[in-house]
Symmetry: C2
Subunit: 523 residues, 2 copies
């Protein structure tokens, strides 16, 4: 593991740098990951797919306005939030807040349509919004799974491993947040090790803690040690996941974290967490109505805390089995919700978060792959801007899977290639190749094929395309077995990006001081 020291605190802040990781690092990444260096976030050169007409969008918007006006949203255990809403012109009745038609949309006018989330390596900064799609790893699982050990509780070492895998994966643009829950670390101290691991083992952008307002404040403080106080105050360096307790409730924990981040100028993804049939109606249009109302209110509240605070319209929406009540993934109805919610976010003029590689399967089998791809393709085509859970998600989000992580990364890289669209250049048209080869021959050795040999087709890191006989000779491995080999190779080949030792020391010092006073409980 190399610990080369150089000054890599960002000096350019635009995030628009189009160079890909250069030189030795790029070659190393290419070697490690089957052909490609770190990829910049996706800039879509393909059209959007939309399932709702203007009429459909207008119906849902009207219904959401009715919900907000007549039913309203609860803000529980937070007097300050209620006061802010009263001041803004909403009708507050106990913890229930009702909104005159159009108020929420009006407040959202100060929300930026897109923004840059800065990474400590400026080449890894990402655009959130517009034509950009950013893939981030799974968030939240208390368990991990691999072929060797099966399923067990996650530890800090696993957390660091997933950060390293996300750093290695060319088409993961973001280090994410709780890539798994390090349950061997006390609950009140966990966020410190998580934020530190993202900084120490990656140079991609990352997420802050949302489980307590104090932990959100610690995340901001640590970000300031990396990026500098002034830079953090005027730029987004943290993106944070604020779940709504659907239906129609914001609780004090999430509102508390949202206030900290919004006031610090950091991004909040306001995500109704919905399993249709339980937390929302069983229909697509009904679910979209509730999502629009909930997400809009959360994003508008961020604007009350600090006008101009970066926000993202979030949606985590799947269904339940009406037979067992269990969550299901990769089915048609959540895909329609995903497409519809993306349209509603564009209509509001804010970035959108949803999708990923979701599945209910317990193991990385065909079910896992079917469900994940049935979520991932809509993620890209819908124009999702920030795609959490893009890699590693297993068993309804209870498990971070090592093998599925690298399988998903292969699919992400394919999606990134697809998003480049069709090359219509002269080389792309290939008329010289057609002329050279002619009827009844083949293109294998022609000049055009030779010239485009290296980049012509996406080369999978997981798929076995060999003959049956060769596959037998290679041990008849299925995709999971090959993925097991691949993730271990990625970890073995991992080299940490350089980190300014002064920054490292400041972070470790901050953590030590905090840990000395925080409680040790693991609940």
């Amino acid at each position: 593991m190399s610990d080369m020291v150089h000054d890599d605190v960002p000096t350019t802040r635009t995030g628009r740098n189009s160079r890909r990781g250069g030189g030795a690092e790029a070659r190393r990444a290419r070697r490690q990951s089957g052909g490609s260096a770190h990829l910049r976030y996706i800039t879509r050169n393909i059209p959007l797919y939309e399932v709702l007409s203007e009429e459909g969008l207008a119906i849902i918007e009207r219904n959401a306005d009715t919900l907000l006006e007549e039913i309203g949203i609860e803000f529980r255990d937070d007097e300050e939030a209620l006061a802010l809403w009263r001041e803004a012109g909403a009708e507050v009745d106990g913890t229930r807040v009702r909104f005159p038609r159009g108020l929420v949309r009006e407040l959202l006018k100060t929300a930026p349509a897109e923004f840059i989330q800065h990474a400590r390596n400026p080449e890894r900064s990402v655009q959130i919004g517009g034509k950009a799609t950013v893939f981030a790893p799974v968030y939240g699982p208390p368990f991990v799974r691999n072929l060797d050990e099966g399923r067990r509780y996650a530890r800090l070492e696993d957390f660091q491993n997933f950060v390293k895998l996300a750093y290695t994966a060319p088409a993961i643009h973001h280090s994410g947040g709780t890539v798994c829950e390090p349950v061997d670390v006390p609950v009140a101290k966990r966020h410190l090790d998580m934020v530190y691991s993202h900084v120490r083992y990656s140079d991609k952008p990352f997420m802050g803690s949302v489980t307590h307002p104090d932990r959100a404040a610690d995340s901001v403080a640590m970000a300031k040690l990396v990026f500098g106080d002034q830079f953090v105050d005027s730029n987004c360096v943290l993106i944070n996941l604020i779940n709504v307790n659907s239906p129609m409730v914001f609780d004090a924990t999430m509102v508390g974290a949202l206030k900290v981040y919004a006031r610090a100028g950091q991004a909040c993804v306001v995500s109704p967490f919905i399993l249709s049939g339980a937390m929302s109606p069983v229909t697509v249009a009904g679910t979209l109505t509730q999502i629009l109302a909930e997400a809009s209110v959360g994003m508008a509240f961020a604007q009350l805390c600090r006008p101009g605070a970066p926000v993202v319209f979030g949606t985590f929406a799947s269904s339940i089995s009406m037979q067992s009540g269990a969550p299901t993934f990769g089915t048609p109805e959540p895909s329609l919700v995903l497409y519809g919610a993306a349209q509603l976010a564009r209509r509001l003029g804010v970035p959108f978060r949803s999708g990923g590689s979701l599945c209910a399967s317990k193991v990385p089998d065909a079910q896992a792959a079917h469900e994940s791809t049935q979520t991932l393709i809509p993620t890209l085509y819908a124009g999702v801007n920030f795609a959490l859970h893009s890699a590693g998600w297993l068993e309804g989000g209870l498990v971070s899977s090592y093998e599925k992580f690298v399988m998903d990364c292969d699919q992400l890289a394919m999606m990134q290639r697809f998003a480049e669209g069709v090359d219509l250049s002269e080389n792309g048209q290939a008329m010289d190749a057609i002329g050279e080869v002619g009827p009844g021959s083949h293109y294998l050795g022609c000049a055009h094929t030779q010239a485009n040999f290296e980049t012509a087709f996406y080369r999978s890191t997981i798929a076995d395309n060999n003959s049956f006989e060769q596959w037998l000779a290679d041990g008849s491995q299925d995709a999971v077995q090959r993925a097991n080999t691949l993730y271990k190779r990625w970890l073995a080949d991992y080299e940490a990006p350089a980190l300014d030792p002064a920054v490292d020391e400041a972070l470790q010092d901050f953590i030590a001081r905090k840990k000395a006073v925080l409680p040790d409980g693991i609940e």
Copy 2:
């Protein structure tokens, strides 16, 4: 197995009958197949996804015209074909045919934009073209695979099994053609047993033989025994797969079969068979140019044989590994080709065939599922009208897999549900549910949920959504193991649709007379 006799020779011929299979049969199908009766072909209520601009389409059309004018297409070993082209105004030089710009497009004006392929049960007739998508099973594999036996050569019994599975599957709308090669039957006699099996074990539409003009003629003759001479002459009852020997060659076998079918008024799917990098240039635009040229010429040739003959713009296009030359599936470039070719077919005003559930994997694992879904979703979104290989395809088309067949059927049914789009009715808007439930409660027992309980969400036949503990208690099965159980249940519960005994006798008599004179070689 029931052999109830009733007159089920079709009496209405429109194929527009919107009733679904009624009564006992429907209930049986619903029971057998996890909740749904036979589904009518898909009528898309969702938008198309398109990757090429008008400018891109014009470039490709211009380049295809140049290819046809300057390079031309080979028609080998068929003097009649060359004479027909000469007469139509093409320039014939040996076996090479060159086409004045616009000639081919002009000839295609007699091709129908859509047509009905009739089934012997009129409720199973399908529309080919327009907003319709028809799913048909895998075509061509010489091997079969299942968990119990592994991989082995296919037999007639397997062929019949796959016909039965396709009959049972709600979202398979078509019985297909060579669902596997019954290699235990002599090559020259095989087509007779195949056509008979489709008629005997299913009442869905099916395909004719294309491996020799005589076998095509036998297929037409057998269809006439089922549907009547006159009906067959004026209606499509067979759809047939005519592959182009890409690049730019039509061989005598395929042209011979095409002539038989086109003159009999039966449908020809003209399909360039392309692995980019071998049979076409390594680029998407170059491949599309060649596909457009080849498919157009084949369809125009059918119009020379019989103006108005139903034709389908076919495309089988994938890529090869530039490292090993092996075919690859589910990668981004073939998806772009699929979307582009669908646009080119619409531009010509003819139906389109492509896609399916293609994969290179040797087993029905995550690789198989990733690759298949990466082909199937584009199949639906591109607006493919006839989707061969929708179920059962494994190992690059060398294997018909029992387990993958039922897995794929689950995915097809999901696609069919997705294609219904978003319900914006009052029930779909669900404002009463939102009003009834309100903040902080749940929708599980509300009146709207109760009213929509049965149909709210697609219910997978393969996925396990239970808790980890329940899944362990159920034996920790993966998707393949569950699929193994399911396909066996489908076969055990299979009941043959009724067949007029006079028709059956006539078919058996025809087959016996033919078999008596055909050779016995198995090559």
